[in-house]
């Protein structure tokens, strides 16, 4: 399980970082989303992996072994903030697109080449 999850985190992070380095605003927005998935899972994983023991107590006060609730609470907060971040970024990119007429992260196309020279992946 650990190796699967860490590989998953790695792939999410790599895809996110790759996209964030791209020149188009929409790519960066998606990259931000992917990177925040990776980071949220990473923070969550800091509480170690537990299967089938959510931190929800069955009856009254009791001491049972449950998953660490602290990283979960942190991630819950992070989920909200990354939602807000994505929303804000999306609107900023739309506004920038309206103002500048293009969707390059710098607000203008690189002047030496029009349109941008990047080819899609094969």
């Amino acid at each position: 399980m650990e190796i699967v999850l860490s590989a998953g985190i790695g792939i999410l992070a790599a895809s996110g970082v790759w996209l964030m380095l791209r020149p188009r605003t929409f790519q960066v927005a998606l990259g931000l989303s992917l990177l925040s998935y990776a980071v949220n899972l990473f923070i969550f994983a800091m509480g170690r992996l537990t299967v089938g023991a959510p931190p929800v107590l069955k009856t009254g006060p009791e001491t049972v072994s449950v998953d660490d609730p602290v990283p979960q609470a942190l991630v819950l907060t992070a989920l909200v903030i990354s939602f807000a971040l994505t929303a804000l970024f999306l609107v900023v990119l739309l506004a920038a697109r309206g103002v500048t007429g293009n969707d390059h992260v710098d607000g203008r196309e690189p002047h030496h080449a029009e349109p941008t020279p990047e080819k899609p992946h094969p």
Partner: protein
């Protein structure tokens, strides 16, 4: 009035007057002058009234707590030295006020001048009266800023702007050095209090920080006093109105540096370093200043360089490490202030009445203005050091100190020689000034006919010249007591004995003085003509050395350098920024890993492997890579892939015992995806078919390989780190406490929810505030949104629908669009109440079971947005009025109110209370105050997310409206 009140009044009055003068109408020349004069005189009166209390070396101290935590208090401290400078500043200030009233033209906005002037007076008094070093630096910088405003008073004049800028750049930079030096002194002494600093001279001199502190403090003092090589700002500051030049460069601004050196003389001087730095700066300035003054054709330029040379003289005296030299320095400071102020004013009159300051055009003014001429002549004689005037006395002291401090080193013989030489230069330029301006043939073609100025304009000069003569004739009766108090304040009990007599017998200094006077006359006779017609422009030998050029070059270099740095590191281009950021993070992680021993695969606890989990993550990884690959040309599929990755991460939460996260993640995923879909509409069409120019291909390829490496390493690093942590046993953290106390203390079984709404509720309050702010920001941004023109066209699908409708009988354009997705729409409409119920359910169970306010809020938003999607914004808004902004406010109020309610019970903010209530039908429900807080979260989340979505959705609506508005007139035309 008590002495404290008098002192405070003296310090505050100028600032109050400055504000008042600034409020006067811009043509109120006389009222502003009267105000400024009254304020200056009142302040002077306060200081004079405190004189008796200074007898016997006493000080008057008035302290107000300012920043007690930093050990910085506002301390007004008046001693003999401060008294002398206060009187100089205020008395000459009052005369300048009177003079400026008649000098300034009625068309100038004179109240502004007086407002700056009074602020400057206040700042100078602040420096002089500071009983605390930090406070001193503060007022020091204030004088730099206000002098910038004063020098640039005629801001439509380019020379004034440049002069003001240069003076601010040099003196404020020096001020920053002074601040650092002051902080160093504060560290050495352990206090910024002036009394404490003055009492720890030996500690400072023996400290390893002495040299840096000394150099930094001197940077401040030497730049302010226009010492070589920082003197270049002073001649350029002559673009200021002449009354201001008379003030700044005789009694105040430049004397602030001198004041600081005298003030700290007891603690900083007495070392080799002091001797060489201060002494050589003073000597260089004295020679450069007096040499350059000889060759000036502009009267104010001559006075500017003369000021520089006299400041050099005073600095040199301070650098000699001799108490008697300090006495001479203080004495010369006073004398210079009096004769230089009167000379500036006389030059101002000449400029005012003849229209020019060029000595080559002026001559024979004696006939037209004998009275002004006499005054100027006496003042110039004082400057040159002619006997029976005050300048003679201090110059005598200077020469005598130069002789006494020769020491035994051969190089020191240069001291009296150079001092005499500089005195001869002074004689030379004073003589040239008088001879050129007032004697010779009658002037011709001057811009104006010269005549005596109005009576009131001469009074300040008369008083100053009278002072020069009085000090020169009877020094003991006039300046004696004040000088004695100042010397006592500097040296305390170790004050040197000195004599202010005119005649000390026939000794070496007198001989040198006579040589200097005679030599000056001789030099003028020999070279006067050639200096007047100097073909080389600048001073001989130095005409190639242009400080202004150097300054401009260094400013240009600074600007260029800053621009280059901005280009390299600036935020202008995002991609390099992010690249640097990621690389730095990678390197930092790598460095930490190497330093602490990188051991990724420590044998540890492993959770049993589950093939289904691996399968799920194969899908997740494929989604992530797919999104990365498709995002450029296929935004819709990339969005779907990102959703898929989100789904997998949500399932992972569920699998690994985090149901709250799973619920929240999946709901957020839905809203985010809808939002992205709404945004797609406004992005430009991107076509993969356009080929790249061959020149760019290699570059692009290289860039992509670098990015790919960065991304791969980031992923590998994060994966390795996650694996390394997960396989190690967890430490005994705070988790156990939360799990054990969640029910007894907060009455909740869902520990995560309890953490959020009870234990860590304050964090959550901050977090929902962020969410609300983001919602409002999105709304504000979209209100002014103007879509790019190429995304205004109707989508291709709508065109084909309309074409279909037009081709059929009995169908209107738009019918097909209205019919689209009919069945799902009905389902979606009917889902509305059920989703609301789900949301309520999630909310109510939140404290004990997975759910909670946030999930409930998002669910409710989904209910709303489904209606929008099914029926369109207009249809929904005709039936349902959602006011998201009100919801945001209400949510915050509820949450904060739930927190504040605990105050009513005398508990800290956000203390939760809980109980269980029996309700009919529902049974036992938890009734914790945290539930109210959770309700606030829910309401706010609904408001914020609905606000974002609706604002985005409305963009299409707005476009349609504007397109219809355009279409209507077009339709009418065709009809």
């Amino acid at each position: 009035m008590s002495s404290n009140a008098l002192l405070a009044a003296a310090a505050i009055l100028p600032f109050a007057g400055s504000v008042l003068a600034g409020a006067l109408p811009s043509r109120a020349r006389t009222p502003a002058a009267v105000l400024a004069g009254l304020v200056t005189l009142a302040s002077l009166g306060c200081i004079l009234a405190l004189t008796p209390q200074l007898s016997g070396g006493n000080t008057v101290v008035h302290a107000v707590e300012w920043l007690p935590s930093l050990g910085v208090n506002l301390v007004l401290r008046l001693d003999g030295l401060a008294w002398l400078f206060c009187v100089l500043v205020l008395a000459i200030g009052a005369l300048v006020v009177l003079y400026a009233r008649y000098y300034m033209a009625a068309a100038d906005p004179v109240p502004r001048l007086y407002s700056y002037f009074l602020a400057f007076v206040g700042a100078m008094l602040g420096i002089v009266l500071s009983g605390n070093l930090i406070q001193l630096v503060l007022f020091w910088e204030l004088t730099s800023i206000v002098s910038f405003l004063l020098i640039g008073y005629w801001y439509d004049n380019a020379a004034a702007r440049d002069g003001a800028r240069m003076s601010l750049t040099i003196t404020a930079a020096g001020g920053l050095c002074l601040l650092v030096g002051t902080i160093l002194i504060g560290r050495i002494v352990g206090s910024y209090d002036l009394d404490a600093v003055l009492a720890s001279g030996d500690t400072i001199r023996n400290s390893p920080l002495y040299l840096p502190a000394l150099v930094l403090v001197l940077m401040g003092a030497l730049t302010k006093s226009a010492q070589f090589p920082f003197h270049i700002w002073l001649p350029r500051a002559m673009a200021a109105p002449t009354p201001i030049s008379a003030y700044l460069h005789s009694a105040t601004m430049v004397k602030a540096g001198i004041f600081l050196m005298i003030r700290l003389w007891p603690v900083l001087s007495g070392t080799e370093q002091w001797y060489w730095i201060v002494g050589s700066a003073g000597m260089a300035t004295l020679l450069v200043g007096s040499w350059s003054a000889i060759f000036q054709h502009d009267l104010k330029g001559l006075l500017a360089y003369s000021t520089i040379s006299h400041l050099g003289l005073i600095t040199l005296l301070l650098g000699l490490n001799s108490p008697l030299a300090v006495v001479a320095a203080i004495f010369h400071t006073v004398n210079h202030a009096t004769f230089k102020a009167s000379l500036f004013m006389a030059v101002g009159i000449i400029d005012h009445e003849t229209g020019t300051r060029d000595m080559r055009r002026l001559s024979g003014l004696w006939r037209a203005m004998p009275y002004t001429g006499t005054l100027a002549m006496v003042a110039a004689a004082a400057m040159a050091g002619v006997p029976l005037l005050n300048g003679f006395l201090s110059k005598e002291m200077f020469l005598s100190e130069a002789v006494d401090n020769m020491g035994d080193h051969p190089i020191h013989i240069a001291l009296p020689v150079l001092a005499t030489l500089a005195s001869a230069f002074t004689m030379l330029y004073s003589l040239r000034f008088i001879r050129q301006t007032f004697f010779g043939p009658p002037p011709h073609d001057l811009p104006e006919t010269p005549h005596e100025p109005v009576r009131w304009m001469r009074i300040p000069i008369e008083l100053l010249v009278l002072t020069c003569v009085a000090i020169g004739l009877v020094p003991n009766l006039t300046i004696g007591p004040a000088l004695g108090r100042a010397v006592a304040a500097v040296f305390g009990a170790d004050a040197p004995t000195y004599s202010l007599a005119i005649w000390h017998g026939f000794n070496l200094p007198l001989v040198l003085s006579m040589i200097a006077l005679g030599g000056g006359v001789l030099l003028y006779v020999l070279f006067g003509k050639r200096i007047d017609t100097n073909p080389r422009g600048g001073p001989w030998l130095m005409d190639r050395l242009d400080g202004g050029w150097l300054f401009e070059r260094s400013m240009t270099g600074l600007t260029r350098g800053a621009r280059a740095l901005e280009l390299w590191f600036g935020a202008e281009r995002l991609q390099p920024q992010l690249r640097i950021l990621f690389l730095a993070a990678l390197l930092a992680a790598l460095a930490a890993g190497v330093a602490r021993g990188l051991d990724l695969f420590a044998p540890g606890r492993l959770t049993p492997f589950d093939p289904a989990f691996a399968l799920m993550w194969i899908v997740g990884a494929a989604c992530a890579v797919g999104a990365a690959e498709r995002a450029k040309y296929h935004r819709l599929s990339a969005t779907i892939f990102v959703g898929g990755a989100g789904l997998v991460s949500s399932l992972t939460f569920l699998w690994l015992s985090a149901p709250d996260l799973a619920v929240t993640q999946i709901l957020v995923e839905i809203v985010t995806t809808v939002m992205l879909l709404l945004g797609l509409r406004w992005l430009p069409k991107r076509d993969a078919a356009i080929p790249a120019p061959p020149s760019e291909r290699a570059r692009a390829r290289r860039r992509r390989i670098i990015d790919l490496c960065i991304a791969a390493f980031a992923g590998l690093g994060l994966a390795g780190l996650a694996y390394a942590v997960m396989t190690r046993p967890a430490g005994d953290g705070i988790a156990r406490w939360f799990v054990e106390e969640a029910y007894p203390q907060a009455g909740g079984r869902n520990v995560v929810n309890v953490l959020l709404v009870d234990f860590r509720a304050f964090d959550t309050l901050g977090e929902i505030s962020v969410l609300g702010i983001v919602g409002l920001t999105v709304f504000a941004l979209l209100r002014r949104f103007r879509p790019a023109p190429d995304s205004l066209e109707r989508p291709k699908q709508q065109h084909s629908h309309d074409a279909y409708d037009r081709a059929r009988e009995g169908r209107k354009p738009g019918d097909t669009a209205a019919d689209a997705l009919l069945v799902p729409r009905v389902v979606m409409t009917w889902l509305f109440p059920f989703i609301i119920l789900l949301s309520l359910h999630l909310f109510l169970r939140g404290h004990d079971l997975p759910g909670g306010g946030f999930a409930a809020g998002i669910a409710l938003t989904i209910a709303f947005i489904l209606q929008y999607m099914a029926c369109g914004a207009q249809w929904v808004e005709e039936r349902l009025r959602i006011q998201p902004i009100a919801w945001i406010g209400l949510g915050l109020l509820i949450a904060a109110g739930a927190g504040a309610a605990s105050w009513l019970f005398g508990r800290p903010f956000l203390t939760a209370y809980f109980a269980y209530w029996e309700l009919p039908l529902l049974g036992k429900v938890p009734a914790a105050s945290a539930l109210v807080f959770d309700l606030g979260i829910m309401v706010l989340v609904v408001g914020a997310s609905a606000l974002m979505l609706v604002a985005l959705a409305h963009q299409s609506l707005r476009r349609t409206r504007s397109a219809e508005a355009e279409a209507e007139p077009a339709a009418e035309e065709t009809a």
